[in-house]
């Protein structure tokens, strides 16, 4: 019996889909059987980010409406033999095509076959959100160091805390820019964690390669040298229960002079 984790944020564009794709891939690399479920019906993206778009035959709505079995609709990612599958969302209907009860049933079914079912939640707090959360045992809230994203994350956490079937949500802070934080132009990690007061699951530095990789349909996790990749792998290990320290945001590769300046408090 696996675990179902919903990845949500409230606000759009903070990296829910990217996080789902990468954490899912990282878990598959670590040898777990993973199923990704895209619940953003009408605006599906997860298949594109995973590079599986042109293999879709059936989708989530087909399964729910009984036109095919789950097994038939699942798209297998051939890069990870038998470890990673995707249940794509429908592009032709909208969020109201599925009810929370149907989603719960579907996720429960998937949990029988997979170690982890990662549910990619659409933005917003309406039907799409309710569908995504219905079957989940656990939630990961993604936010970026922006006041608006943190505000929405706070709202979502409030809603998630009311879901009695779920464990307390955990936080991923995405797209941190080290130099901006240092200059005080961006919220820092401590500030966000203190404000939201939930457990921090991981932080991911802003990295252009993430966008490049997404566009190619190859999750960044597949590139072992990227910092974002390591961050996602660390998150996957923390989900598995390992305790992995957070990556430092800014590498200290500065000269002696700047160290002396720092010592005297001159920046």
């Amino acid at each position: 019996m696996g675990e179902a984790i919903v990845i949500t944020s409230g606000k759009g564009g903070v990296g829910k889909t990217t996080t789902t794709a990468n954490v899912g891939t990282a878990l598959a690399i670590l040898g777990k059987r993973v199923c990704l479920v895209d619940t953003d019906i009408g605006l599906r993206n997860l298949d594109v980010v995973m590079g599986l778009e042109n293999r879709i035959i059936y989708d989530l709505v087909d399964v729910v409406e009984g036109r095919c079995t789950v097994q038939k609709a699942l798209v297998k990612d051939k890069r990870f033999d038998n470890h990673l599958y995707l249940l794509p969302a429908a592009q032709t209907s909208d969020k109201s095509a599925v009810t929370p009860e149907q989603m719960k049933q579907l996720v429960d079914e998937l949990k029988q076959d997979y170690d982890y079912v990662l549910i990619d939640c659409p933005a917003g707090i309406e039907q799409g959100y309710r569908n995504a959360v219905a079957g989940a045992d656990e939630a990961i809230v993604v936010t970026t160091p922006e006041v608006s994203a943190v505000r929405d994350a706070d709202r979502i956490i409030g809603l998630l805390e009311n879901e009695e079937h779920m464990k307390p949500p955990r936080l991923i802070i995405n797209r941190i820019r080290g130099h901006m934080v240092k200059n005080g132009d961006m919220l820092d990690v401590d500030e966000i964690v203190m404000h939201l007061s939930i457990d921090l699951l991981g932080i991911i530095a802003d990295d252009e390669n993430v966008i490049k990789a997404s566009n190619k349909g190859e999750p960044i996790v597949l590139d072992p040298n990227s910092k974002a990749s390591i961050a996602y792998r660390n998150i996957a290990r923390r989900i598995l229960g390992e305790s992995v320290p957070l990556l430092p945001l800014e590498e200290d590769r500065k000269g002696l002079f700047s160290k002396i300046k720092k010592l005297f408090g001159v920046h």
């Binding site: 505000r151 929405d152 706070d154 709202r155 409030g158 404000h195 007061s197």
Partner: protein, 239 residues
């Protein structure tokens, strides 16, 4: 034998002398003490008797305010009204207040709700509203977009970054206190105050908000409250 008889007579006299209605004059007017052991009908009868027996007063003499003390008797609103009209009809008296030692359960519960300190341990997040009838003791934060409302005072052990509304039912004496005072809005009774548009880096620690003599919400050091609102000290529940 004779002693016994005497005793019996005396007891008889005492019960007969026992009056249901006692009138006492105080400097604020008259106080009518109404016995709480007799039946309501007996009480009415005697009250009417007492008030009509005494001498006539000129009809244009000033009204005298009367304070009713009914002891351990519960009066329904209808009975209260009956007493008021009876007293008003017979004399130049007007009932200013009725005092009873008895409360109904609902009244007592209502009173408790309005005066108790409700302690809540949670983070009031964006979009959430926490509403209590009495005083609120919040062990946690109010995040931006979150709202706390209390009929009485609001005490926040964490940070207040959202909206707090104290004295929701019109109590202007209510105060808001927080360990970290960074609200988006403060409301006390019907007065409102919002954060300045510029960001300040002041401490904002251990502060309180109250309505001052100009009917404005003022934020100041927490320690001032003991002078401004001595009522906050409550070893027993305030009335």
């Amino acid at each position: 034998m004779s002693i016994f008889v005497e005793l019996f007579v005396e007891v008889n006299v005492v019960t007969k002398k026992k009056q249901y209605v006692t009138i006492k004059g105080t400097k604020d007017g008259l106080t009518l003490h109404l016995d709480d052991n007799c039946s309501y009908d007996d009480l009415l009868r005697e009250l009417e008797e007492k008030l009509t027996v005494s001498e006539k007063i000129e009809p244009d003499s000033p009204l005298v305010s009367v304070h009713l003390k009914v002891g351990n008797r519960y009066l329904t609103p209808e009975q209260e009204e009956e007493l008021r009209t009876l007293i008003r009809r017979t004399k130049n008296f007007v009932v200013s207040s009725i005092e009873s030692n008895v409360l109904t359960k609902e009244e007592a519960l209502e009173w408790k709700r309005k005066t108790e300190i409700v302690s809540v341990s949670k983070i009031v997040r964006s979009g959430q509203v926490l509403h209590v009838q009495g005083d609120l003791l919040l062990i946690g934060d109010v995040n931006p977009g979150g709202t706390v409302i209390a009929g009485g005072n609001i005490f926040i052990l964490g940070a207040l970054r959202g909206i707090a509304h104290a004295g929701y039912y019109g109590n202007k004496e209510a105060v808001i206190a927080a360990s970290v005072m960074k609200p988006t809005q403060l409301r006390i009774s019907d007065v409102m105050n919002r954060a300045p548009d510029y960001k300040t880096d002041e401490g904002n620690e251990m502060e309180c908000a109250y309505i001052d003599e100009h009917n404005q919400i003022v934020v100041d050091r927490l320690q001032l409250l003991m002078h401004l609102r001595p009522n906050l000290t409550r070893l027993e529940r305030r009335m």
